[in-house]
Amino acid sequence: MAANKDNKHYISRSESRAIARENSKAIRYYEQRKKRKAKPDEYTTQMQDDNNIVEFDDLHTYFFSDAGTVKAVNGVSFSIPAGSTVGVVGESGCGKSVTSLSLMQLVQAPSGQIVSGSIRFKASLFKRDEKGKKIPVYEMEDDEYGKRFKLDEKGKKIIKKNELGGNVYEMEDRVVDIAKMPTEAMRSIRGREIAMIFQEPMTSLNPVFTIGNQLDEVGYLHIEGISKKQVKAHSIEMLKMVGIADPEGVYKKFPHELSGGMRQRVMIAIALLCNPKLIIADEPTTALDVTIQAQILDLLREIKHKINGSIMLITHDLGVVAEMADYVVVMYAGKVIEMGTAEDIFDHPMHPYTIGLQKSKPTVDGEVDKLYCIPGFVPNPIDMPDYCYFRDRCEMCKEKCAGAYPGYVQVSPTHKVACYLYEDTKEDGNGKD
């Protein structure tokens, strides 16, 4: 890096070649790991706390780029309790989306790879026989000799149907580590147990197919054995559920014929098709007007209630988080710097960054003469410093902050912060425990 002193991002040709070599080696290793054939036991683990449905544990997701390794997610740990909404906040580029994409195994490969750490997820998976096939549940009937398989005219066993008309298979509950799961196995979780809603619905909807086509397709994919008529009925049912007044009309329309708010409703309908346990909403209302945002947030709350699931809500808007979230995770430069309940974060913010973020946003009901300004900008993600990533912008910086990256301090049973200012509180906290 010393080759050109003016520009610290300068990379000489030999350096660039070395980076490329390292990258292709790393990428090959991680790609092979994802393609391997693995028995479910290899990626089965245990939840640390049984109330959670997701636990991120020291997750590292890197991008092996030509300019060097971007540590987009650099040791993230937090959990999503069942039935709760967890808000993930932070400025753009801090790794919110990459964290959620890691959970779906959708990080842009080959350059983006989950490097280490684990993502534990409480899944209910299809039970498989020795050949890896799903085990169907058959219709039974009673006669004088006891229980027997019910047979159709051709003498074949009849597979039991669920209320939607899909086949019923034997299921098993299993805690899996998504970070270690092969891509193949991830298919049965993605979209079925975890669904995702993005900021710009237009990019995830196909412009040349009608809304109905796209809903039906997802239905066929995830509800095996469902008939054409049933899938359409189910799609329309979902459109009704997300508050679309004219579901039959919308079913026949193309995405570009709908407004932004309607498209986002359709995306939510698609996410709901398979009754997921967890919905990841990545900036779901950022592209919408406030009045439409209010409608969509209302809908998300209602939906969560109906499916009795959890929401991971990613946003940069503190107002949205305060309104929606039970727990808040604040991220900065690929790390979680503070987390706690919504009350913890908004009533007693502790990390200088969290405090600064809250002070720098004007509010509709308050009045300030001058907005607080966090000086400077986010450090370059390719060569992060060894010390606290916020130190160059921090106004409360102490001598100690020049040392290693600060560890977490548990300031209350629910509230954790990574900052040297609260080290004394840690001892108090430990004493009380």
């Binding site: 949205v320 009350e343 973020l357």
Partner: protein, 422 residues
């Protein structure tokens, strides 16, 4: 439209009348500003249908003050800003800027005025030329307008850059090397290099992160104080508008529905739309339970806005009169304007109702006249004939009960084919 057809004549006339007296402290007065985009043309290329992006806006802006414009996307905020700067043709209405009517000036004369009115856009990535250095971008138009000579160019640009928080060594760098916040500073510097009096800021911080937003907002306020600038600050972010503005105008479908000082608009809101808009903003405090007014549905299309009050399709206070006649834009309280029938006096209501009656009568007469034209009469006959045939067929087969949509589609199709045959 008439203006563009015989624009020459009008312009020569206007040079005498363009000097219009404004009170000393007023920089800009806008009267009944309109900008219609043609969306459909007839066979001869004459526009027959318009998108009324800005549909009659009036306001007065004092020197050194900031007017905040809020409203949902598509309500015409940007179009209004751009119309003020003559970035569109076919703008109607009066724009009195510093004693001159901008809308009527000749191009050559307007060029002289142009540096006085500048604009900053939302997307700092799209609005900077990638081939010029930062210094050239900032100084280029200042040199074109002879605000600075060749010798003083470098110093002049550095002075402007310093004002906008840009370090001197950025002079030789290219815009792609900068983050969004820095680029927006470059855009601001480029506008300020022309020593404008009025700066129209169109969503200048919407694409920036919160911490960077605060930096840019603080800088804009500082510059306003230092240089005595007047801003029109367009944003969909109510909290930002509240922070920076002295006056606030709320737009809905091409109209300003409420206008007044910041305090009166925010703490004594009059218009139902403004109330709903304000209540929809999420507050960063988990203990606040919002008393939210949920608006039903989406904003209607500006091509076919609702009749009467344009907001009546979503308004919770909608009355009978609202769908019949548009409310008048009037001063409800001192300096606080609003257009809503809720604030009519009894006489107003009676007068407006009478007017609505008359309008409806006239419309009915016009419609009848239209229907009595020979071509339309023939068409109506054919339509009824077709309908009769269709009902006969329907009765015969009695299939139609199964699905509801089919019978609706059938008459249309038969109609067309029959007309063609004749």
């Amino acid at each position: 439209m008439e203006k563009t057809d015989n624009g020459e004549v009008l312009e020569t006339q206007s040079t005498q009348t363009a000097e219009t007296a404004l009170p000393d402290d007023v920089l800009l007065q806008v009267n009944d500003l309109k900008k219609y985009f043609p969306v459909a043309k007839n066979f001869f290329g004459k526009p027959i249908k318009f998108l009324k992006a800005v549909d009659g806006i009036s306001f007065t802006l004092k020197k050194g003050k900031t007017l905040g414009i809020v409203g949902e996307s598509g309500c015409g905020k940007s179009t209004m800003g751009r119309s003020l700067l003559r970035l569109y043709d076919g703008v109607q209405g009066e724009i009195l800027f510093d004693g001159q009517d901008v809308a009527k000036l000749k191009n050559r004369e307007f060029d002289k005025l142009r540096p006085n009115m500048q604009m900053i856009f939302q997307d700092p990535y799209a609005s900077l030329s990638p081939r010029l250095t930062v210094g050239e971008i900032i100084g280029e138009s200042a040199r074109q307008h002879h605000l600075v000579d060749k010798a003083g160019f470098h110093d002049y640009v550095l002075k402007v850059m310093d004002m906008c928080g840009l370090q001197p060594h950025y002079f030789e760098r290219y815009p792609h090397e900068f983050s969004g916040g820095q680029r927006q500073r470059i855009c601001i510097a480029r506008a300020l290099a022309l020593q404008p009096k009025l700066v129209v800021c169109d969503e200048p911080v919407s694409a920036l992160d919160v911490s960077i937003q605060a930096q840019v907002i603080n800088m804009l306020i500082e510059l306003r104080e230092k240089l005595g600038l007047t801003y029109i600050f367009i944003s969909h972010d109510l909290s930002v508008v509240k922070h920076i503005s002295d006056d606030v105008g709320v737009m809905y479908l091409g109209n300003i529905v409420e206008y007044g000082s910041k305090d009166s608009v925010f703490s004594h809101t009059l218009h139902p739309y403004t109330k709903a808009l304000f209540s929809a903003v999420p507050v960063p405090n988990p203990h606040v339970k919002m008393n939210r007014i949920m608006l039903k549905g989406d904003i209607p299309s500006p091509v076919n806005p609702p009749k009467g009050c344009k907001f009546h399709t979503r308004c919770e206070h909608c009355m009978e009169i609202c769908s019949r006649i548009a409310p008048e834009y009037r001063e409800v309280e001192d300096g606080h304007f609003c257009s809503c029938h809720l604030y009519n006096s009894e006489e107003d209501t009676l007068r407006l109702l009478a007017q609505a009656d008359e309008n409806e009568r006239n419309e009915a007469i016009a419609a009848e006249k239209e229907a009595n034209k020979p071509w339309n009469k023939a068409k109506a006959k054919v339509t009824t004939a077709c309908k009769n045939v269709v009902t006969k067929i329907k009765n015969k087969f009695k299939k139609s009960e199964q699905t509801e949509q089919q019978p609706q589609e059938q008459p249309g199709q038969t109609e067309d084919s029959n007309v063609e045959e004749k």
